[in-house]
């Protein structure tokens, strides 16, 4: 903010040419955003409703679409809590202790963000697929991972792994361990410290991480595509259903896609609200 006010103070009243340049830059930026981001968003809803309300309602209420919604919710309901526990555990480890290999662990937590989702799905097949390292053993025990719901969950966990940890680690680092240590001297147990000192202090950042994690979990395509086998009504999540419908029925694909677009708009809205109302609680500053 200091920079902004200083900029304004430079030169007092900006000259005519500088004002024109500013207007030009703002207009250029708005055009870039409108063309690159807003137009595709509008296109989704326009295509979805091109054939009217009745068609839209039918498209999103056909059995395969309902099954896809249900599967997407199921996968997210398993993967997101898993990542919440992972994020809390990883943040607790990374911020309260020093141990050899800590930097490496930090890098590993962030790794899934840099790996192509398609490569992630392929790696899971190499381990859990029929001819994979663990696949045949799992199959002998009656557990099918790839081309089934466990595989979808694994792929989703992989691509969303860093979301919660990434919000919590910098925050808990900024907050330090003093309050936890104070609680310890007052006789609190480890779990008491966690639930009554740590958790309340990070709750908004945790919610923020959950929000982003959930959006990605429900919208993941590449990784899930590889491990799902796209069995209609069985292993099709919403994005996979969009892909399959796109080959057959253009408008129906956009109708289902509009549900995901709606989720996106909602997510971005809540994200802004959290940043606006609890900005300090998110960064610890």
């Amino acid at each position: 903010m200091a920079a902004v006010s200083a900029m304004v103070s430079i030169g007092g009243r900006p000259s005519w040419s500088i004002r024109v340049a500013r207007v030009f830059l703002v207009v250029a930026a708005v055009i870039v955003l409108a063309w690159l981001l807003v137009l595709p968003l509008i296109a989704i809803f326009a295509e979805a409703f091109r054939q009217g309300w009745a068609f839209y309602r039918d498209a999103i209420s056909q059995p395969d679409s309902i099954a896809a919604v249900r599967l997407t919710l199921t996968v997210a309901a398993i993967a997101v809590p898993l990542n919440v526990v992972f994020g809390l555990a990883a943040a607790w480890t990374m911020t309260h202790f020093n141990f050899p290999g800590k930097a490496l662990l930090g890098a590993l937590i962030d790794l899934p963000f840099s790996v192509s989702p398609v490569v992630a799905g392929m790696m899971l097949i190499l381990v859990y697929g029929k001819y994979g390292w663990l696949g045949s053993w799992l199959e002998a025990h009656g557990v099918q991972v790839i081309f089934a719901v466990p595989g979808l969950v694994l792929a989703t966990v992989f691509v969303t792994l860093p979301f919660v940890a990434r919000e919590l680690i910098p925050l808990m680092q900024a907050q330090g361990s003093e309050q936890e240590e104070a609680a310890l001297t007052l006789g609190a147990s480890g779990w008491q410290i966690f639930f009554r000192v740590t958790l309340p202090r990070v709750r908004w950042a945790l919610l923020y991480g959950v929000l982003l994690c959930n959006a990605r979990a429900m919208g993941e395509f590449g990784a899930v595509y590889v491990v799902s086998g796209h069995l209609r009504g069985l292993t099709n999540t919403l994005p996979l259903q969009v892909d399959q419908l796109y080959q057959e029925n253009f408008s129906a694909a956009f109708a289902v896609a509009s549900l995901l677009a709606l989720l996106t708009v909602l997510t971005l809205g809540i994200k802004r609200l959290l940043e606006w109302r609890h900005g300090e609680a998110l960064t610890g500053r």
């Binding site: 703002v26 792994l161 994005p239």
Partner: protein, 274 residues
């Protein structure tokens, strides 16, 4: 090792390692193992085909170009959002996250619908001789779309905290506004711009969902490397070929990760030195 004051070290570290092990490390090891089993000649037999080489050239070439465009557009957007106050600024700021949050398949079909010959933009561009859908230009566009927020979000906090004293000093010495930007601001932003570039590049190389619809997957022309991996697994059951290609993609990700870590150290030292 010093005894830990707080409890829970074993539980939290154990759980973290268990999840990382089963979801990340074991799959990574399996990929490296499969790729190593091929040996250099077996690996080249998988990679050295005309089709795979064309896809790698497209994936890396388009990603490099897209990340460059992202840096230019991202710098413009970040600069305007941080330095100027205008109506709709908050909306524009919120919009930047859209490619992060919009499912890639949805973005992919939306871009395709816009630029297809009968789409809103396609029907105007195709008569001008500009074909975007089902061409390399479409691949580039989709990659620019997914990479933009990385550059903007990396730049914004740095621009906000940029010390204004240097700019003011340049002003008092008679530097014009463009001179101040090019000679003072841009060099200060360089490490951040490179970080944004690397992030956008990493995302663009590995991107699948946004690209496969608009690319049209035409043989030798618009097939991206991730598409070939999916094709090998999905319809050819060629796990070794997929692993050979996957190893190349993974190596690229790791190189970029190391580059970003070095950049971060550089930025950090820069900040301390100032």
């Amino acid at each position: 090792m010093r005894r830990h004051v707080l409890s829970g070290f074993r539980l939290s570290t154990g759980y973290t390692l268990a999840v990382l092990g089963s979801c990340v490390l074991l799959p990574l090891a399996a990929l490296l193992w499969t790729a190593c089993e091929l040996g250099p000649s077996g690996w080249w037999a998988q990679i050295g085909t005309r089709r795979v080489l064309a896809s790698l050239r497209l994936s890396f070439g388009a990603a490099l170009l897209a990340a460059t465009i992202d840096v230019l557009l991202g710098l413009l957007v970040a600069w305007v959002l941080v330095r100027y106050r205008f109506a709709l600024r908050r909306v524009c700021d919120a919009l930047v996250d859209l490619p992060f949050a919009l499912p890639t398949a949805v973005a992919g079909i939306a871009l395709t619908a816009l630029y297809a010959p009968n789409g809103w933009l396609g029907s105007r561009l195709v008569p001008l001789g500009i074909e975007v859908a089902y061409t390399r230009l479409g691949v580039l566009l989709a990659m620019v779309f997914v990479g933009l927020p990385f550059v903007v979000r990396t730049l914004q906090p740095v621009l906000e905290n940029l010390e204004s004293d240097l700019e003011e000093a340049a002003y008092t010495l008679g530097a014009s506004s463009p001179q101040r930007f090019i000679r003072v601001v841009l060099p200060l932003l360089l490490p951040t711009l490179l970080t944004g570039y690397a992030l956008a590049l990493a995302r663009a190389i590995g991107e699948y969902g946004s690209v496969v619809f608009i690319s049209g997957n035409r043989l030798f022309r618009t097939e991206i490397a991730p598409y070939l991996i999916v094709l090998k697994i999905d319809s050819q059951y060629d796990y070794r070929g997929a692993a050979a290609l996957g190893a190349v993609m993974l190596a690229a990700s790791l190189v970029l990760l190391v580059a970003m870590a070095l950049l971060q150290r550089w930025t950090h030292r820069w900040a301390i030195a100032r």
